[in-house]
């Protein structure tokens, strides 16, 4: 009995140690990767790198065009996806709680969230590039990414709306407000922190995407930055992939420097999102 007792405790302790190791395993590996990237990439970062056009010679090439492309994509995608995503979430959460349509839409959104991003590329190739005749433009690219992140925005907005307690809605109705007024003046402002967090994470996901943009044909040799939504474009991940697929060492170094820039943008966006979420959770104690 005594022996069995200690064996069980041994297992318990052993799992504790395995748990700690597992928890940090991924993070330690990521840290090693990041350190490697920074050692290779940071020395390549200079003002020229940010302001140069693409070039056949690695040491002259820069990220001006893809960086501007990424900023365009960020703005256009946000403009298109935020209104649709928030509106759909408000409908599902505030209006369609129990009807058949809402539950069908819900299954559909869960499924869309799991559709591989490259499939959105195939859809966009036929629908935006060919059928709507948008070509390989920024517009086609941001529409593609909008569809891709729409389920993310809908889901996170619904979570934020769900967190607003019933009592706030009932108090508003009690004061004679209509449903729309209640949503506009009470529910949405209360949920704003959570909604914005979800939006930032979705946009961060969008600017890191590569595959669907390659499928619509965005990997082109472009010589000037886009100036309108109908222009051809490149983005940071596409430029990194392009450099990675070349054999010369110089381009690989360029890719690592590009990765440092892309990761900085991603981590800053994620940092803002986490900060906002924490502040929102602390501020609102229901």
């Amino acid at each position: 009995m005594e022996k069995l007792f200690s064996l069980n405790h041994l297992k318990d302790k052993a799992f504790l140690i395995t748990g700690v190791i597992s928890t940090f395993f991924g993070l330690v590996v990521l840290a090693i990767f990041l350190a490697n990237i920074m050692i290779e990439g940071i020395p390549r970062l200079s003002l020229d790198f940010f302001t140069s056009l693409p070039s056949r010679r690695a040491e002259n090439a820069g990220i001006l065009i893809p960086l501007i492309g990424t900023i365009w994509i960020m703005v256009l995608t946000s403009l298109m996806v935020i209104p649709f995503g928030v509106a759909a979430a408000v409908y599902l959460e505030e209006y369609g709680a129990k009807n058949k349509l809402a539950s069908f839409v819900e299954i559909n959104i869960t499924n869309l969230a799991g559709v591989p991003s490259i499939i959105f590329g195939l859809l966009a190739l036929e629908l935006f590039v060919r059928f709507l005749g948008l070509g390989k433009s920024l517009m086609a690219g941001s529409l593609t990414l909008s569809l891709l992140v729409l389920p993310i925005i809908i889901t996170s907005t619904r979570e934020a709306l769900k967190a607003v307690p019933r009592t706030i809605r009932e108090a508003s109705y009690g004061l004679g407000a209509t449903k729309l007024q209640t949503i506009q003046m009470q529910v949405l402002p209360s949920a704003a922190g959570g909604i914005v967090t979800g939006i930032i994470l979705a946009i961060s996901r969008a600017i890191g995407e590569t595959a669907p943009l390659i499928v619509i044909g965005a990997m082109l040799y472009i010589t000037s930055p886009p100036t309108s939504p109908m222009d051809d474009f490149s983005t940071m991940p596409i430029q990194i992939f392009n450099w990675l697929s070349r054999p010369q060492k110089g381009f690989i170094v360029n890719a690592t420097a590009g990765i440092v820039v892309l990761l900085s943008i991603t981590f800053v966006l994620n940092g803002i999102a986490i900060y906002l979420r924490n502040r929102w959770q602390k501020q609102v104690k229901w």
Binding site: S22, L122, L125, A211
Partner: protein
């Protein structure tokens, strides 16, 4: 008063339209995949597609067997799951049963950072860091292989399993846990004999979603696994996944409407059917699980 009523109605209709819009996306995806694949299958026999073991649509000697691309996808996803499943589940159980709530609250979003890194960056890691590292131990390892991107992809999907499984464990009623401790069980026994069985459907959902994610992953395998369709389960040689094939064709100059062009939709619909099945199964399992404890 009447105008206000009207405004309410119009707004509701607009909101409803936005919700319906998401259904149209699915319809459009289905339409595009089915219509292009229809042309493909009117020229290539379905039987050849699912049984032939060579995929060479871009060569002069053409063969249209999807199996090499499927084995490529299965192989990389399997390796990813070998990494992500044990680590992800251990993290979930550790955080739920052993760790303090304060530590859990801090570390969960930190682990989720693993999933926020763009996949093209993971592709670089696989090709430039992990493959050379593994070549130190495995002399026969090719520069492009499925082992290295598989491992890296596994690290990327750890948070999917750890976070979703932890949520499932968290949903198990507190009194089950206390009853187990009350009987004198250790944390280890409580975790494996009470909590994991009680949360099993939620944990299975997290696993299915992770597999679905691995199957659809593109950039890591496109960069580090090679572009040679091969009917093999050898993790040391270059292979090609369904997703990589679509990328490869997209990078070239394939004429719209040609059979080569339609092959990417045939590969796409295969990928879609696989992930769709997994997503639907997980949706219903999750719903069943929620009913059980809510």
């Amino acid at each position: 008063m009447y105008r206000m009523r009207l405004k309410e109605k119009i707004t509701e209709a607009l909101l409803q339209l936005s919700a319906i819009f998401s259904v149209l996306i699915t319809v459009a995806i289905l339409y595009v995949l089915i219509s292009e694949s229809y042309f493909f299958f009117s020229r290539v026999s379905f039987f050849e597609f699912i049984t032939a073991t060579e995929w060479t649509p871009l060569f002069t000697q053409k063969s249209y067997g999807i199996l090499p691309l499927v084995t490529g996808t299965v192989l990389t996803s399997f390796i990813a799951m070998l990494v992500a499943l044990p680590i992800g589940l251990t993290i979930a159980i550790y955080l739920n049963v052993y760790a303090s709530p304060g530590f859990k609250k801090v570390i969960k979003p930190v682990i989720e950072v693993l999933a926020a890194v763009p996949t093209v960056v993971y592709g670089y890691f696989a090709l430039m860091i992990v493959t050379p590292f593994l070549q130190g131990f495995i002399p026969g390892l090719s520069g492009f292989n499925s082992l290295s991107p598989g491992i890296v992809m596994g690290i990327m999907i750890i948070p999917m399993i750890s976070s979703l499984s932890e949520d499932a464990l968290h949903a198990v009623p507190q009194n089950l846990r206390e009853a187990s401790y009350g009987m004198g069980a250790t944390r280890f026994q409580t975790a494996f004999r009470v909590l994991v069985p009680a949360a099993s459907s939620g944990i299975i959902v997290s696993i299915i979603l992770a597999v679905s994610r691995a199957v659809g992953e593109t950039m890591i395998v496109a960069i580090a696994a090679g572009q040679q369709p091969r009917f093999t389960f050898n993790p040391f040689v270059p292979i090609e996944t369904m997703t990589t094939y679509i990328v490869k064709v997209s990078l070239g100059d394939v004429v719209h409407g040609s059979l080569e062009y339609q092959t990417i939709f045939a590969a796409g619909i295969t990928l879609f059917v696989l992930t769709f099945a997994m997503n639907i199964i997980s949706f219903y399992l999750k719903r069943k699980f929620q009913e059980k404890y809510e």
